[in-house]
């Protein structure tokens, strides 16, 4: 009894404390009647639906076109969100695209303002982006070379290219929150614009806080995109067996010899073959496949993965707090697969010549 009384009191107070700015017109049609049938509601909703179809979809607008937009606060919040202390003017410059500066200049010309008398104090982010990209590009390569010291230089480049494409950088920039801050003529913002802005943010950090902080930023936001990604799939090896043959020969081992280890369902559509690769009667790697040829090629790839020490049992990437004390060798260059193949051919040619003479 007491509980029910309390409940009614609570209801009554809730109703009496409704805000005065409550807009009844937008709310009432959502209210469900309990004791009747609202015969006009369905017609009303249908009408509204038809109107929306006639008018078409809502026009895409910049976030800054709404009234509750404070660019200064957003610029400040951007740095705070990422835990970085930017110099405000540098960060502002990082978001100014070249098209925006040109647009502003054109507007002034149309208005008849002399640009030399009243200079346009705007600088675009092109230079910052170049600086940022140079730093990011070199750090990504240095980091990968040190983490995967046995990976071929071509593989390192492939992973680097994957990380520094416009698409990937635009993806990062979008999710870090650059899209609303960018000042550019075109809308919606292009991938290239987003990527330039992200590079410029790195450049701005490099100018303001130095190399170490900028590299930490790259590690936290760019290299982390490799998580859950198989780096072996990023580099397409055209002739894995040829590369394996060259590697084994230069290490003084015998030629790779593929052997059929196991097969099942040979006459069915789901046939399976396991091929192993041996050198000097020693097992190197094995792999499955739908046919013997596919399995053999895959086994060669598996062998190369083992040589590069990037096989499936590799250690996870060192990122985050563990990477703070990473001792990176900035001058390191890994072995190149092209060099190995060239050496192998020179060696085989000289052997042939010596045997004939």
């Amino acid at each position: 009894m007491a509980a029910s009384i309390l409940k009614t009191i609570a209801c009554a107070t809730a109703r009496s404390t409704l805000p005065k700015t409550f807009r009844i017109s937008t709310f009432m049609h959502l209210k469900v009647q309990k004791r009747g049938y609202d015969q006009y509601r369905m017609r009303y909703l249908k009408e509204m639906y038809q109107k929306r179809l006639d008018v078409g979809p809502e026009k895409q607008r910049r976030r800054s076109e709404w009234i509750n937009w404070n660019y200064d606060a957003e610029i400040y919040a951007f740095g705070q969100r990422l835990g970085e202390e930017f110099n405000e003017s540098t960060l502002r410059q990082a978001f100014i695209n070249r098209s925006y500066v040109e647009g502003e200049r054109k507007k002034r010309e149309e208005l008849g303002i002399d640009i030399e008398a009243v200079p346009l104090q705007l600088e675009d982010n092109t230079e910052l982006a170049e600086e940022g990209f140079a730093l990011m590009s070199s750090y990504v390569k240095v980091y990968l070379r040190n983490i995967y010291p046995y990976m071929f230089e071509e593989g390192i480049s492939a992973v680097h290219d994957y990380l520094t494409t416009d698409k990937m950088l635009a993806h990062i920039a979008k999710h870090v929150g650059c899209e609303d801050l960018i000042l550019s003529e075109e809308f919606p913002v292009l991938e290239s614009t987003l990527s330039t802005a992200f590079k410029a943010v790195i450049g701005a950090l490099f100018n303001d806080k130095g190399q170490e902080q900028a590299e930490r930023f790259v590690r936290d936001f760019v290299i982390t995109q490799l998580i859950e990604k198989d780096i072996n799939e990023l580099w397409h090896i055209v002739n894995p067996m040829g590369l394996l043959k060259a590697m084994l020969s230069l290490n003084g081992k015998g030629e790779p010899e593929p052997r059929l280890l196991w097969k099942s369902g040979a006459n069915t559509i789901m046939s399976l073959y396991w091929v192993g690769i041996y050198s000097d009667k020693e097992f190197i790697a094995k792999s499955p496949g739908e046919t013997v040829l596919i399995a053999e090629e895959m086994a060669a790839r598996e062998a190369i993965k083992r040589i590069m020490k990037t096989d499936d049992s590799r250690a996870p990437l060192i990122i985050g707090r563990a990477a703070e004390n990473l001792m990176l060798d900035y001058n390191r260059v890994n072995i190149s697969a092209e060099d190995i193949i060239q050496k192998f051919y020179e060696k085989s040619h000289s052997e042939k010549n010596s045997s004939t003479s």
Binding site: W235, W262, S264, N267, T268, M270, S287, A295, M298
Partner: protein, 198 residues
């Protein structure tokens, strides 16, 4: 590239197993074979995943039943018409179709599964040792038999039989041949009239 694709292929590809049903209990065999048919032996098994293997069984004509089961174990059937019920002893069914007993045993083992018919299609039964070549080429693994094959009296040499220690001597007038007599007059009480041996 694409090495992960073939790894997945290897996980999901179906293996073909072979099983020799010679002198094996059909019910205990069914327990083992349905494990392979459903894929219960795989770490990736899930009820809703289709990961079962193929099983090839030969020598189903030579299965062994314990006790009096050849006579007392029944197969039932109803045509759903009035009076359409019939039943048959296991030995009678076995005469009609030598793969039937093992097939029904596996079928009953899988009762309650939605994909029972799909699984049963992956069970290949052959009454004798002859298996088509294209099926034999698919086979990779062998399933262990459920019981050791017993040695029959015929397999012992006469010398071994004679040297076996005799505990007592039969009386001279003891009839030891009578169990071999064909008792045609006695009807098979356990089989419906329609199915009885003529």
């Amino acid at each position: 590239m694409a090495h992960n694709r073939v790894m997945q292929w290897a996980v999901l590809a179906r293996t073909w197993w072979i099983y020799d049903a010679n002198q094996q209990c059909p019910f205990r065999s069914a327990y083992r074979l349905t494990t392979y048919l459903q894929g219960l032996h795989k770490p990736v098994y899930h009820r809703h995943g289709d990961v079962g293997d193929h099983v090839v069984v030969f020598n189903t004509r030579h299965i062994a039943m314990r006790g009096e089961f050849w006579r007392t174990y029944k197969h039932f059937h109803h045509t759903r018409f009035a009076g359409g019920f019939s039943r048959a002893s296991a030995y009678r069914v076995h005469e009609e179709d030598p793969t039937r007993i093992l097939e029904r045993a596996c079928h009953n083992r899988l009762s309650g599964l939605d994909n029972k018919r799909t699984l049963m299609k992956r069970l290949h039964l052959f009454p004798d040792e002859e298996i088509p070549e294209e099926i034999l080429e698919n086979v990779t693994g062998q399933i262990q038999q459920v019981q050791a094959i017993p040695k029959k009296l015929e397999d012992y040499s006469q010398r071994e039989i004679d040297s076996f220690p005799r505990l007592f001597k039969m009386p001279e007038d003891y009839d030891i041949e009578s169990y071999k007599r064909e008792n045609r007059l006695e009807p098979d009480q356990h089989t419906s009239k329609a199915w009885r041996l003529k």
